[in-house]
Point group: C2
Chain length 210, copies 2
Amino acid sequence: MGRVSDAKEKLMEAVLELIWTGSYGNTTIDQICERAGVKKGSFYYFFDSKADLAAAAFDANWQVRRAQLDSIFSSSIPPLERLQKYCDFSYRFQSEIKSRFGKVLGCPLFALGAEVCTQEALLRNKIQEMLEYKRKYLETAVRDADASGVIRAPDPAAKARMILSYYEGQLTHARIQNDVEGLRDTARGIFAMLGVKEKSAAADRNAAVA
Amino acid sequence: MGRVSDAKEKLMEAVLELIWTGSYGNTTIDQICERAGVKKGSFYYFFDSKADLAAAAFDANWQVRRAQLDSIFSSSIPPLERLQKYCDFSYRFQSEIKSRFGKVLGCPLFALGAEVCTQEALLRNKIQEMLEYKRKYLETAVRDADASGVIRAPDPAAKARMILSYYEGQLTHARIQNDVEGLRDTARGIFAMLGVKEKSAAADRNAAVA
DNA sequence: GAAGTAGTTGACTATTTAGTAGAATTGATT
DNA sequence: AATCAATTCTACTAAATAGTCAACTACTTC
């Protein structure tokens, strides 16, 4: 009963884009409402605050991202290839973003995390949680690579943390430099960290058939 | 002639601390003035805007940082040891910050860069420049390590970019997680990226004597 | 088609914020 | 001790911003 609305969704889309293309602190509720084509009264009907909206928006967005990651990190793909695919995807995605917005925008999660972690506990917790999920995809890939013998990694959790720092660092760097070219090296860096030899990479590729 | 003042310095200190413990977008000119113990009239006497002040503050701060880096990356120290020292320093520094502020704060340059790069061209350029300086310290260390034969690195500039992304990623991660423990692994990650073997590390250490 | 619920609206208040003007003060220099 | 540039201070304006509210509208279900 009552009328139905997509204002909630419009607001979540708007806040994501504004944070990503700008920053959290710089986006106002008025701006969000204007971009969403929603009046402020409606904003407060659905959300308590900017932080509340942002948390909801990142939550909803995470569902989309999760599906992408599930596909990229599918267990049916040889582990090192998963990492390669992830980096390739990241490069292509950021290139597309750059041609759409005129700017490299990097990883919204990491940039927002760095900005608000000392001030907005709610958002910080959300972001920590999502980064931890990301880390787990990496950890599984590392563990699988170790199990299949293509690398030696006694502590997959630690390696995954390293890789995640590096990966996010690369994206953030690309954002600051407004240049995607550095992202071409991401996979190379990860493989170096894992001590992958050319032979191992070949073995990994063959594992697809085996 | 006329009177002398340290208001400029107090304002620069204040803005650095506020940005670092919070964020750029969240710190207001009133806050800066209050923390500096300076009236707003004086603020506008010395600076045109928050961005102007921040740029001046980061510039001044860079001079201090540069001296630290010159010491850590001294050519008289074996190249791999320089990297180890850099990571050790970073861990100690962040630990100290955490006990002083109750929070891990990471790298102010990188966090600010990620936050404002799409909005404040002046600051973005400053930060790009400083990150480039940082990269050069790393590049020299990598090149020296290659020259002395302890590693093989045909493209020291690219390796330095990788290391920088990783290093900054680690610091930002520490900030978001509010935990310094991950920083213990930074040097290990860098050495892995460089393909350092135990033997090479030993050779590097001996180079100090040679 | 009546009734009730879900959502919308615009107009409002109270704060916060950036930025300004000009008088007042300080201290170095002569 | 007089001068005058450098700095500070108070009080102000205008705009931006967060947040509220009661009246209104549209949909759904009975």
